[in-house]
């Protein structure tokens, strides 16, 4: 068997998805992006001579992961504290696993998205999803690309920009006209913010009034918030809405998931304590609503956290959406202001 010639050298960065693994390889005259789908592989080649730009953008995904992992870690620690025996061990192990994942995520560093541009293609490089890997890969690729194309002189860049009339500065809201992004009115975001505030108020009421009616209203408002949140998440994709407002909607999704998990845990606890009510929904709702948050410290902690998070996200969302709508209205009154 003849030994195969090694013409590709692996570049830093790897992304493992549910189906595929993305890697990037340095070839003699091109960059090879491999999308490995376990039993098959797809290849994309980018010749060094054709690469116009590599654009790296920092994202907040890593911070969101940290937040979610941190919250789950604290959550399991809180569950472990009042527990005894096997339960305490299980919750501590779960907390440990989330802590480990958090530490790994912290070690991997900030996240980013990396794109490669040629004259006819604009491709995302999924393997470069961490900033330090993207920097390392660009550091390796830069000399290879410059060897194939030569160096870019400031004069050449100046001439190019003069030719494209791009010397003007771009204002904060000017981007919509230039980018052609869809305008989003933000009404769903406003409705979500209001629902979150209402939800916070109802949780506050539920703390003191242990009534099934209040619990049902709380569930109804929560479900309505989930529906509006999904619509807002869909509508904000590719829209001109503030990034901060988009992040608020994503944070609401994280809160709602947490609320659902907590609700499920509480319901399961009630069912385990009273197995007879397991098949009777009304009895179960009554039993859950009769639990006073003042009976256990972690239950009280969850209530306080939910109230604070709902108010925080609701107020932030309302302020941001009001500012966004006001700014857009002003832009429409005075068109052509640059």
């Amino acid at each position: 068997m003849t030994k195969q010639e090694k013409i590709y050298k692996r570049l830093p960065g790897k992304k493992k998805g549910l189906i595929g693994i993305y890697t990037l390889w340095q070839g003699p005259d091109h960059l090879l992006a491999i999308d490995s789908k376990r039993f098959s592989e797809d290849y994309k080649r980018f010749y060094y001579n054709d690469i116009q730009a590599i654009i790296t953008r920092r994202t907040s995904r890593g911070k969101i992961y940290n937040l979610i992992l941190g919250v789950f870690c604290v959550f399991f620690v809180l569950l472990a504290l009042p527990s005894r025996g096997g339960g305490a061990v299980f919750f501590m192990v779960m907390a440990g696993l989330f802590l480990l994942a958090l530490l790994v995520n912290l070690f991997l560093g900030p996240t980013c998205v990396c794109h490669l541009q040629t004259a006819v293609r604009f491709e995302r490089l999924p393997s470069l999803n961490r900033l330090k890997n993207a920097y390392k890969a660009v550091k390796i690729l830069k000399p290879l690309i410059e060897k194939a194309q030569g160096s870019l002189t400031p004069e050449a860049l100046e001439t190019y920009f003069l030719g494209n009339s791009l010397k003007r500065s771009v204002g904060p809201r000017e981007r919509d006209a230039s980018s052609g992004r869809r305008h989003e009115h933000g009404n769903f975001h406003k409705a979500l913010a209001i629902l979150l505030l209402v939800y916070g108020v109802i949780i506050f009421i539920d703390m003191f009034i242990n009534n099934p009616g209040v619990s049902l209203i709380m569930s109804g408002v929560g479900m309505a918030a989930v529906v509006v949140m999904i619509i807002a998440l869909v509508r904000q994709q590719g829209s001109d809405i503030y990034n901060a407002l988009k992040s608020t909607t994503w944070a609401t999704l994280a809160l709602m998931i947490m609320e659902m998990v907590l609700g499920y845990v509480i319901a399961m606890t009630v069912v385990f304590k009273n197995p007879v009510i397991a098949n009777n929904q009304w009895e179960m709702i009554k039993a859950i609503s009769e639990i006073s948050p003042f009976d256990s410290s972690w239950h009280l902690g969850i209530y306080i956290f939910s109230i604070c998070a709902s108010f925080l996200l609701g107020i932030a969302g309302l302020v941001l959406v009001s500012r966004f709508q006001k700014e857009y209205a002003q832009l429409n009154v005075q068109p052509g202001t640059e």
Partner: protein, 187 residues
């Protein structure tokens, strides 16, 4: 034009080729753009081929009324400047490129490969965990490993360890099942 990948707004010249991240002037996300001379390079215009002026000049195989400028390095057909494709330091005609692509003769044109070694190994390992399916999958794994022994695997060179492991595991399973059925028959 280089655009911000978050807001799609055009990026300013002063944020190109900076050592670290810079704020996008439109949406304020932290971004870094490494640009290269290909951005400012003029794209060469395509040529349509020169029309034959006199009859004794060689014409293109695909366009007989166009003047041949080169012959295909693979098949030798005369090509006009429109049909000449410069590829991997060779001048090829479109039909040779198509054939090379279909028959996997031009490695740099391949954009998809099936990993038979991984498939054979998966067929040998995964059903083994559920025991009974391996009656069918063990011979299948053995067949796949042997039949595709010389088939190209990943474009990144890899050893035949997966195929060997698949053959060994599938062989052991077949032996195991044979012994089991023999035992059942002779009990």
């Amino acid at each position: 034009m280089i655009r911000c990948t978050a807001c799609l707004g055009p990026l300013r010249r002063d944020i190109f080729n900076t050592p670290g991240l810079t704020s996008c002037p439109s949406c304020s996300v932290l971004i870094r753009a490494d640009v290269f001379p290909a951005l400012v390079r003029e794209q060469p215009e395509g040529t349509s081929g020169e029309v034959l002026a006199i009859d004794d000049e060689a014409g293109c195989f695909f366009h007989p009324n166009k003047k041949a400028v080169i012959s295909c390095d693979a098949c030798g057909r005369f090509l006009c400047s429109l049909c000449d494709v410069e590829f991997d330091d060779r001048h090829l005609c479109v039909s040779c490129i198509e054939t090379g692509r279909n028959k996997h003769k031009i490695k740099t044109l391949e954009n998809h490969r099936i990993l038979y070694d991984t498939t054979a190994l998966a067929l040998a390992v995964i059903p083994m965990l559920f025991i009974w399916p391996s009656i069918l999958t063990a011979p299948l794994a053995l067949f796949t490993a042997i039949y595709y022994w010389n088939a190209p695997t990943s474009i990144i060179p890899r050893t035949k360890v997966r195929l060997v492991a698949a053959i060994v595991l599938a062989g052991l399973q077949i032996v195991g099942w044979s012994v089991f059925f023999y035992y059942l028959a002779t009990r």
